[in-house]
């Protein structure tokens, strides 16, 4: 059996790493409470503002805000804070709802534009 912490919210397991039931961090929410969509390579940044309401950022929210002091692609953020992507998306939804974080660059088209393709090709050729 894995012990529960005193708040009854998180599960710990020495072998598996700190969180064995990742969605416990989000109180069981598996989808963001947010209309924003968070693509893997979309870029987010902390606004430096406090929350709109009485929201209290948890430790994971604060870690995200810390990493996102500079604009950070969501995939890098997820890898760095070592939480599963689904969990990160829920937490990002909380933070954007509260105006503490925003998406600064987002892929809205299913296909990248020619300008980006050209940049990538030039980059690869000069590697």
């Amino acid at each position: 059996m894995t012990p529960r912490d005193s708040h009854g919210e998180r599960w710990f397991d020495q072998e598996a790493g700190p969180i064995v039931r990742p969605y416990a961090v989000t109180n069981g929410r598996t989808l963001p409470d947010s209309s924003a969509s968070f693509g893997l390579i979309d870029v987010v940044v902390a606004t430096g503002e406090g929350p709109y309401g009485h929201f209290r950022p948890g430790p994971e929210h604060r870690r995200i805000l810390g990493v996102c002091r500079r604009p950070t692609p969501i995939v890098d953020l997820t890898s760095e804070i070592d939480l599963p992507l689904g969990v990160v998306r829920v937490l990002l939804g909380d933070l954007t709802n509260e105006g503490m974080l925003r998406i600064v660059s987002a892929q809205r088209q299913p296909v990248p534009d020619q300008r980006l393709l050209r940049m990538v090709l030039d980059g690869l050729e000069s590697l």
Binding site: R21, P22, Y23, A24, G28, T30, L31, D33, S34, S35, A36, S37, G39, L40, I41, D42, V43, V45, R70, P71, P73, V75, D76, T78, S79, D82, L83, P84, L85, G86, V87, G93, N97, R102, I103, V104, S105, A106, Q107, R108, Q109, P110, V111, P112, Q114, L116, L117, R118, M119, V120, L121, G123, L124, E125, S126, L127
Partner: protein, 225 residues
Amino acid sequence: MDLNPYDSARQDSARQDSARHDTARQDSASQGTGPSAVPSTAKILIAGGFGVGKTTLVGSVSEIRPLRTEEPLSDRSVGIDDTHGLSAKTTTTVAMDFGRISFSSQLVLYLFGTPGQERFWFMWDDLSFGAIGAVVMADTRRVADCFASIDYFERNDIPFIVAVNCFEGAPRFEADDIRIALTLKPEIPVVLCDARDRESVKKVLIGLARYVMLSRSQATTASRG
């Protein structure tokens, strides 16, 4: 903008309207230089059967990083979505690897090895949305392993090329033999590669980027008449 977190925003149309709104609002605020500059990001998928060399290929041109993602065992897998019983639910964890090539502070290219097993296909739409395209890796000893990837990319109109990973001792074929074995359309490039070799992998990626540029620009011209 006041977003009520509990409104019906998960409906697709609402989702997209608001997303568009967000981008418009944010673009004007995102100008900047130095550490606060917002990078352009792009991604390429590396697909293919189990053990075909996806991780090796990504590692040859970039530093491999771990990415954890998980699928809640809910509606999709079980057929019943009991949102109130989440504490009793389990999730499947998918460990993926990705590589990151940063050309400058302004442009970062991500390479995503797509998890091969079918139960992870829920990830593929996410991975492929907005992708430049895909490299489907094939092993001549078991070409059929990449059929599923090819089907997926064809069905979803995602441009791809085929890279034959040349293992020692594996039978050598001409690119055209592979094309026939995979029943590929004639325009789809087939290249031979060594996933362990950086120059070889660079060529594969350049081949994909060129092919995508060409096919996208032809598609645009064609649709204009």
